[in-house]
């Protein structure tokens, strides 16, 4: 069965002259000043499973959204079966023959499996009203056809396992008999993807095109003959996968392979530094088993693909997520961090992922935002001492290189970069000794990034320690001493020294480390 999927015998090769299922050329999309995709072009032939490869933030999900009618591209053209294709809504995309199984799953937890499968139009019985029995009958037939007979159509979706939810999401997309099927990380929750491979074999034999997005390169190699590599919102190259090695693909995803790795890193081996912050066999949330240690004066990076548990790891260190097992040690002493106040008391300064919702108070002035956590220290008999507040803020603003004219403005009016500087300034002012930074340079400009790097380096040089997660691997390599790679809630490997290169990190993050 699976052999028929071997790339060489893909039906596409015999129909090279036929009209392409999809032809995407020069697609660009920006959200305000943020460029999501710059220039993406590729095509899919009938019966082809085409891979879309790229790091986090390379623009894959934007391509999915464009194809599914969720966002309209700013420029560029799309043709589907030779016809111009510009869907305005998800329903228009579906009507034109494109259906998508979304990574974040588009199932409604409070509806039954049958209702979900029938959306938006349920089966109708007498008097044009929804017939539950007919909907269930049709859903049961559909489930049986795709080998999911173990799921009762009347079950509410929230009761299903994540794997079954993913199967239903895929099945719903396939069952619409599309011309182009878009699968965004379809196997993320499937422990046995053979079920999906069998379906793909069936539909590609009938000429359907498939866009397959997965970070599992082994799967991609097995299914796809060609793949397009995205980097920074551009399609770099469409490669014939049979002819290239994994390492070469990772290089294409990352860019110039030999980027000068790290500038101002002290060469002193830091393994001997006294332990500042460490976790042992930590579990909780999506974290299965993570152990790592950050020495005094050390910057340790965390790299991972989307949703591998890094978020919960950082939230546990910030006292926001409950740790179910394992130990967190600070300066060698075990601590329990059951809420953010515990974490702050233990000396952890946490900079969260969502600046706007978790970090700052948009309606307040910048200086007030910075002094909020230490108002107690700045006040006398419960009344804030404005002179001391101003002095403290000015000093801190100097450290994070923020112009003092911003201090009296509402922080919401500042650029993302300056907001982030204020937020980091606040964490430093609070007297934290261990920085825990989750994607601290997200959405900030290059100049601010440099400032943030300097602040972190200075901070550890003065005896602090820092744990940094970033979606940008280049940034980690530039900044950190060692990098721990997390994959599926566990440590996949540690890269340091000469090993600290992007291809190495990408390979580890994709589970190819061993």
């Amino acid at each position: 069965m699976a052999d028929a999927l071997a790339p060489s015998s893909a039906p596409a090769s015999s129909r090279a002259g036929a009209t392409k299922i999809l032809d995407m050329s020069g697609i660009a999309k920006s959200y305000g000043a943020t460029v999501a995709v710059r220039r993406v072009s590729f095509d899919i032939e009938p019966g082809e499973i085409h891979a879309l490869l790229g790091e986090n933030g390379a623009g894959k999900s934007t391509v999915v959204k464009v194809l599914s009618g969720i966002v309209a591209p700013d420029t560029g053209t799309l043709t589907l079966d030779g016809q111009p294709y510009a869907p305005a809504t998800p329903m228009a995309a579906r009507a034109a023959g494109v259906s998508t199984a979304f990574q974040e799953l588009s199932l409604l937890p409070n509806l039954s499996v049958a209702e979900n499968l029938m959306l938006p139009r349920q089966a109708k019985g007498a008097a044009g009203l929804v017939s539950v029995s007919q909907s269930r009958e049709r859903a049961a037939a559909m489930l049986a056809e795709y080998g999911l007979g173990h799921i009762h159509p009347g079950v509410q979706v929230h009761a299903l396992s994540l794997a079954d939810k993913q199967r239903i999401e895929i099945m719903r997309a396939v069952a619409r008999k599309p011309r182009l099927l878009v699968l965004d990380e379809p196997t993320a929750a499937l422990s046995d993807p053979q079920w999906l491979f069998d379906i793909l074999e069936r539909i590609t034999a009938a000429g359907t095109g498939v866009l397959y997005i997965s970070h599992r390169l082994s799967e991609v190699r097995r299914l796809c003959r060609r793949g397009t590599v995205l980097r920074n919102g551009e399609s770099i190259e469409t490669v014939s996968l049979a002819g290239v090695e994994d390492a070469q693909i990772f290089k294409l995803m990352v860019g110039s392979a030999a980027r000068d790795s790290h500038a101002a890193r002290s060469s002193a081996p830091k393994d001997t530094a006294p332990e500042a912050l460490a976790v042992t066999k930590l579990a909780g949330g999506t974290v299965q088993d993570i152990s790592l240690r950050v020495g005094k004066g050390e910057i340790v990076g965390v790299a991972a693909l989307e949703g591998q548990g890094q978020r919960d790891l950082f939230r546990m260190l910030a006292g926001l997520t409950h740790a179910s097992a394992g130990e967190i040690r600070i300066d060698g002493k075990p601590v329990r961090l059951s809420n953010p106040a515990d974490a702050a008391k233990a000396g952890i300064g946490f900079v969260p992922e969502e600046r706007k919702t978790e970090g700052i108070f948009l309606g307040l002035q910048t200086d007030t935002n910075m002094t909020l956590p230490l108002l107690g220290k700045l006040s006398r008999f419960g009344v804030i001492d404005r002179t001391r507040e101003t002095a403290a803020v000015l000093e801190e603003a100097g450290r994070v290189d923020m112009a003092s004219r911003y201090l009296k403005l509402r922080i919401g009016a500042l650029s993302g970069g300056n907001q982030q500087k204020a937020l980091i300034g606040r964490v430093l002012m609070s007297g934290a000794r261990h920085l825990v930074l989750f994607d601290p340079t997200r959405g900030v400009d290059v100049g601010t990034k440099a400032v943030i790097y300097d602040v972190i380096r200075q901070f550890v040089a003065q005896g602090g320690s820092a744990l940094v997660y970033s979606t940008e691997l280049a940034e980690l390599i530039h900044l950190v001493d060692r990098c721990v790679v997390v994959y599926r809630g566990k440590v996949a490997g540690v890269a340091a020294g000469d090993d600290l290169t992007e291809p190495r990190l990408v390979a580890l993050a994709a589970g190819h480390g061993a």
Partner: protein, 338 residues
Amino acid sequence: MNHPASTSMSTSSAQLRPQPWYRRMLSDGTTIIVAILAVLTVIFAATQADALSGSVLNDILNNSLPLALAAAGGTLVVLTRGFDLSVAGVVSLTNVLVAVYGGDGPWGALQGAAIAIAAGAAVGAINGYLVAYWNLQSIALTLASMIVCSGVTLLILDAPGGNVSDFMTYTLTDRIGGVVPAALVIAVVAYALWRILRRTDWGVGLYATGADEAAATLAGVPVKRVKLISYVLAGVCYGLAGFMLTAQTSTGTPNAGDPFLLLVFAAIALGGTSFAGGRGGVAGSMLGALTLTLLQKVLFSTGVSSFYTGIFQGVVMIAAVVVAVVFARIGSRGEALA
């Protein structure tokens, strides 16, 4: 989505079936409100001799109906994960409109009902359009429309008055053929209409929209239209509530709707509808309204001062919410084990 606990392969287990009826009843808010109602009825029957007589029951139903209709309407908006505060304004407005422009006899009452429904639908349409298509916050917007409606009400009638026909005052609040209370018939008809609407694509889309708007959009649910229709239907319900309030009080009072603002949400919460959207239903809210009214009667019949009414209503609400959470936990625990 981030719960890895449920990733066990279900192929190993037998077919996953819907929960058995007793579990579903536990996690369904309506069960709790029926239980509370039963307890209150027993207390009421024990403390007042003629509690179960036709005329007393008719009285209770009449007193509950306006709130029940308004709560039914409010539920539609809460199910979309919105809040509709305009209820107080619309009830006042339609109360005054019916008192001033309603005619005599059955046809006059019909004319009054038509005016009330039209006014309610118009306010609901404006609310719904602005919330759904302009993405305005429902609380802020409907607060504004409540204030506007109250203002318009004062322009129509600036002091209690108006002229309500005998047909409305007596026939609409009486028992049909001396047996079935008219209020009960109206409530049952309203509930039946909801059951029918529930079995349309709008009805399924309503729950989808409330649970997860983004996912509903991806699944093809016309989310904006679903919301618009919810607000319009809610407005119609408020209009009917104002109409029945007029019949019951036989007068037009410019601030008659004010008590509805909080009581509507109390009835919805009592009925087990989640303010997070996508869970609950109209039946619970209507029974919740009945419970709040019956509670007043019980306090009166047991000789508790009416000053305590608010305290007891609040305590019953807290109890209902706590019990609902406990039951939901038990329900979902069974699920995880299954």
